[in-house]
């Protein structure tokens, strides 16, 4: 990854954190509180199954990525990094 690509990924990651916070109403969480590689589900942010469904909507609405089943989301929504990588590879908008 060259510097330009790296900067783009960094920008996407920051934007994504902001979008996740807004979509999931994480009122008391700041983007800097979310570690890029920390698990999104389970402990930590305390996300649940409805949050996962809301992330599916976010992917489609913001990036034009349509997941066929919620099961697909499991690997993609592991962390902010995995989400950003998937978006980078599959986005249509």
């Amino acid at each position: 990854m060259n510097k330009a690509q790296h900067d783009l990924m960094e920008e996407l990651t920051q934007q994504l954190k902001q979008q996740v916070i807004e979509a999931l109403n994480l009122e008391e969480v700041a983007p800097t509180d979310i570690d890029n590689d920390a698990p999104l589900f389970g402990e930590g942010l305390g996300l649940d199954s409805i949050d996962a469904l809301e992330l599916i909507v976010l992917m489609e609405k913001e990036y034009g990525i349509k997941l066929k089943t919620p099961a697909e989301g499991k690997a993609i929504f592991k962390s902010i990094s995995t989400m950003a990588q998937y978006i980078n590879d599959h986005r249509t908008k």
Partner: protein, 630 residues
């Protein structure tokens, strides 16, 4: 009535079901026993959705639903309900006494298809208004009871009616469950990825989700003396509502609420008398698995299990009533209906007695089990003939006791309210004068402020930000608060401020405290927000997290989860406007909940959120002895 209260049981006097299959209980049963289904394929374009869907949609709407009030053009839900109620009433042979008859309406979304995101919400969208319209049409003068307890509503409505009859609140109760399907509901279930692209397959290994359906179903219950029952009479022998206290949309992994509800309705009976358990059986992976666990825990693995969802789809607010009617017809015919859609490959972890074919039975009682969002679960045990009625008498002893005490307290309270001058404290008056002090703990929140036991609590802000200010001031530390919709936030902070003052041990699982709430607007504010996410065109992104909150009972679920309350949770809707009317309504529903032997105290009151400038929560904690403080 010549019988004393101890001798009243709730007998089924008449019933009727209108579904896409047929107009009438018996015809519906005949068709399903032949393996017919109401569920058919529908194109996305029909309702401007993103995907095709399977559903049971009524296309055989009878034309006998004209309104007595010719100025009112009935909505789809109203037309279906009126037709079903009138058909059931016609079976009675005599006119009902309008002063001793209560209409109990069960629905989840009522007339929601009348809501347009860019226009003010029409009155008919409020569920209490729908019930008032039906009463007006039917000439019933007592205020209706409107139950909106998610998908358990139909069974909860039957339980409310049974209690109202046993308590002597009324002599007849007309219980009508109705659900009209709409793009609002289908888009929401699609956003939850809960719909099966094919006919649903309850309890099967390959099940992919549910199908929705529409129906109107009516059961008329009447007071009867056990010795007057004949062998063909059905009665509601027992009923219970219990909460998972686990999650607002996902069922408990231990089947907690369903197990507890089953356990309650099995008390004092022999499971060998049960013809079958008519389960919820929606065919979602989690629901059916949860039910199999609850059935095992309740010791019912030997009892046949039936899901009727493959015949009608999930008819939501109508399901509890419709499936009780079909179960009555089946037991009368000596048949345990096949679980339509079951593919013979068990897909749940416990060996429940589900089958793909009709079976014979000579037993004449069954359990209807159901569960819904908000963690709520409900069960009723229905039985035919006199044998169970006498057993039911024993269980009724305590209930009748509670009823009598409550009758007294109601009378006392009524007297007080007559002698006092006009004490109607509207929200506006409260803003000027605060809340009157009370012997029981109360919390009162309006946009103007917060009063705890009649004393104003200092808050850093008012109006729109008040609810969040309450959360921060009370140092609740529960980040899920921010995920809640405004109605839930309001009810949640009110309950927290109230419970924090009690000094009792908190967060230990208990089932002796019920949560019984009354509202006018229900979740209308969130209905509107959700509707704005399903505008046809490029902006169509139905929000699953908003859709989940478009059920008014979720607020009771949130409080139950927070406090680990496994007892009864119930949400009722009412068009009551003045505080006196509300208190009257609250007393009426609260005393019904106290008839459950497990319930010793109620977290109860009014919780209403119309918009950021108009909201009010007025909650209290009462027991049987302090009912008059409501």
């Amino acid at each position: 009535m010549e019988e004393t209260l101890e001798h009243r049981v709730a007998r089924v006097a008449a019933h009727h079901a209108l579904t896409p299959l047929a107009d009438g209980s018996h015809d519906n049963f005949r068709l399903i026993s032949e393996g017919r289904t109401a569920v058919t394929a529908h194109h996305a374009a029909q309702w401007q959705l993103a995907e095709d869907f399977m559903a049971g949609i009524v296309t055989n709407m009878p034309d006998t639903h004209a309104c007595a009030d010719t100025t009112h053009r009935p909505t789809r839900a109203e037309a279906m309900a009126l037709h079903s109620i009138r058909a059931a009433m016609a079976q009675l042979g005599t006119a009902v006494n309008p002063d001793r008859t209560i209409l109990v309406v069960s629905t989840t979304k009522g007339n929601i298809d009348g809501l347009q995101p860019d226009k003010p919400a029409p009155d008919a969208v409020r569920l209490g208004h729908l019930a008032d319209t039906l009463c007006h049409e039917l000439g019933i003068t007592l205020p209706p009871i409107t139950v909106s307890n998610a998908c358990t509503s139909g069974v909860c409505a039957l339980i409310a009616a049974q209690r109202a009859i046993e308590c002597g609140t009324c002599d007849k109760a007309i219980v009508c469950g109705v659900e009209a399907q709409s793009r609002f509901i289908v888009s929401g279930f699609q956003s939850l990825h809960a719909l099966s692209p094919e006919l649903c397959q309850p309890f099967s290994a390959n099940r992919q989700g549910l199908n929705v359906g529409e129906a109107a179903a009516t059961i008329i219950l009447e007071a009867a003396h056990p010795s007057h029952l004949t062998d063909s009479d059905w009665l509601v022998a027992a009923g219970a509502i219990r909460n998972d206290a686990n999650h607002i949309s996902g069922p408990s992994r231990t089947g907690e609420g369903s197990f507890r509800a089953l356990q309650a309705v099995l008390q004092g009976t022999d499971t060998g008398l049960l013809a079958f358990v008519s389960v919820h059986g929606t065919a979602t992976p989690y629901n059916d698995e949860m039910e199999s666990i609850a059935i095992e825990r309740a010791g019912l693995l030997d009892v046949p299990v039936v899901s009727l969802k493959g015949y009608f789809g999930h008819t939501m607010g109508a399901a509890g009533v419709l499936e009780t009617i079909i179960s009555i017809e089946a037991a009368n015919a000596g048949i345990i209906p096949a679980t339509h859609g079951y593919d013979g490959q068990p897909g749940v972890s416990r060996p429940v007695g589900v089958a793909a074919v009709n079976r014979r039975t000579d037993r004449h009682s069954f359990i209807k089990l159901i569960s819904g969002f908000g963690g709520v679960n409900a069960a009723i045990r229905m039985s035919r003939g006199r044998q169970d009625a006498l057993g039911t008498q024993m269980l009724l002893a305590r209930a009748a006791d509670t009823c009598r005490r409550d009758d007294d307290t109601c009378r006392n309270a009524a007297n007080k309210s007559h002698t006092a001058a006009d004490t109607s404290h509207t929200a506006a008056e409260t803003c000027r004068h605060g809340t009157p002090a009370s012997a029981t703990p109360t919390i009162h929140i309006t946009p103007c402020g917060v009063w705890l036991n009649g004393t104003p609590l200092p808050m850093p802000s008012h109006g729109t930000d008040l609810i969040t200010a309450c959360y921060r001031t009370a140092a609740i530390g529960y980040p899920k608060f921010y995920k809640m919709d405004p109605l839930c936030r309001l009810g949640f902070v009110a309950s927290e401020l109230l419970l924090q003052t009690l000094g009792e041990e908190r967060f230990a699982a208990r089932d002796d405290r019920a949560i019984v709430l009354l509202s006018r607007s229900g979740c209308l504010a969130t209905d509107r927000r959700y509707a704005s996410t399903i505008c046809p065109g490029d902006d169509y992104f139905p929000s699953p997290s908003l859709f989940v909150y478009t059920l008014p009972n979720i607020v009771a679920g949130e409080i139950a989860i927070r406090n680990k309350y496994h007892g009864e949770t119930a949400m009722y809707l009412s068009e009551a406007i003045t505080p006196e009317q509300r208190r009257h309504e609250l007393r009426r529903i609260a005393r019904l909940s106290l008839t459950d032997a497990a319930t010793t105290s109620l977290l109860t009151g009014w919780v209403d959120y119309e918009d950021a400038q108009h909201f009010e929560a007025h909650l209290t904690i009462v027991g049987a002895a302090t009912m008059d403080s409501i």
